[in-house]
Symmetry: C2
Subunit: 218 residues, 2 copies
């Protein structure tokens, strides 16, 4: 098929498809003549994946390209692909000011990791983000939230265990890696969404003015 049909099938404008081709998110079509190309079902699939990662997962175009590159690279293992997907999702962790609060947060996280027996590298983006959040909470006086660290950890441990086992499959490597990436990115969105629902529910039960409290909080 040609660009117009690819656009129709996916709902992505021709201009955007050209942009994604330029940026390397979509492989070029098979050339049928010096300036004509044809696209297949793989392109439809890939384009849908791109839009899912960007629109639903909230990845940047560059982050999406990095994830797709990991999927396409046969030398990248499942474990490594998971790391790449995490890097793309958490691409917002800059050098923390490194003060007292940051040091204490670092220690708190290290203790949590030891307590739970987690195998987490020092450079894990989630780890850096956790330190950042805890240090920020201390600076703001949010000790009540920070005190729930073990609750969060316990919940996320269960989630991660199920996610990783659900996604493992010793079949087609490329599909497996793709599933890992989709799982990391969209799983994160799903976690956030369900947390939002659970929060409203808990809030309605515990905070709403009375038993007739069905006010729309939006």
């Amino acid at each position: 098929m040609r660009v117009a049909e690819l656009s129709r099938r996916t709902g992505v404008s021709v201009a955007s498809i050209k942009y994604y081709l330029r940026e390397g998110l979509l492989p070029p079509g098979e050339r049928t003549s010096p300036n004509q190309a044809s696209y297949g079902e793989d392109h439809v699939r890939r384009l849908r994946l791109v839009r899912a990662l960007i629109d639903v997962g909230g990845l940047s175009v560059v982050g999406t390209r990095d994830v797709l590159a990991a999927i396409d690279d046969d030398g990248v293992s499942l474990h490594q692909a998971l790391g790449r997907a995490q890097d793309a999702v958490m691409a917002r962790v800059e050098p923390t000011p490194s003060d007292d609060a940051a040091e204490r947060a670092e220690k708190t996280v290290a203790e949590l990791v030891a307590r739970r027996g987690w195998a987490v590298t020092h450079g894990n983006p989630g780890r850096r983000a956790a330190v950042d959040v805890l240090a920020t909470l201390e600076r703001l006086g949010g000790e009540r939230v920070a005190g729930l660290l073990d609750v969060y950890a316990e919940a996320m441990e269960a989630v991660a265990r199920h996610e990783v086992t659900a996604v493992v499959d010793p079949g087609d490597r490329e599909r497996s890696v793709e599933r890992v990436a989709v799982g990391i990115v969209l799983g994160g969105a799903l976690v956030a969404a369900l947390r939002g629902m659970a929060e409203e529910s808990a809030s309605a039960r515990l905070l709403a003015p009375g038993p007739a409290a069905a006010e729309d909080p939006g």
Copy 2:
């Protein structure tokens, strides 16, 4: 104190402080003369809160302003403030295409809500996001992740219950509301961070090439 000191104490440039004043994220200082103003500790606190919500929580400037407006508005209850904070965090849920997948996702979420006995309004942003993710997963063939819905729900129910109870406090309303907002926003960042750590750990145990699998996945 004057701007320069406020800037020094918070690490925010004078230009940015002026910008936040213009955008209504920071209340104007107390005027000491027609064109001179003085700022207090409240401004320092507020400015730190602004940076936390933007830098760590990932909110937009507009979203931050909405959250702060809810905190400052005495007519906003804790339950309502929680809703405002959620709106700000999930400000990326546009009209879904509304096809078969979306309808099935809607039904799946409704069943989940009924199954768990959650009190969730139809307009909850998390609910819309959940429908969006599930519909996207179906379109991509990510049934393995979608099948973990109850695992996610169970984990998030525990998280939300603890968060809401930890944050409730029948004291100073404004501080309480602020704590709710901080809890929603930074709690979300903490959940994502810990999930990242737990994923790497689970992946290292289940997917890594062998027992010597201490490779840095970054």
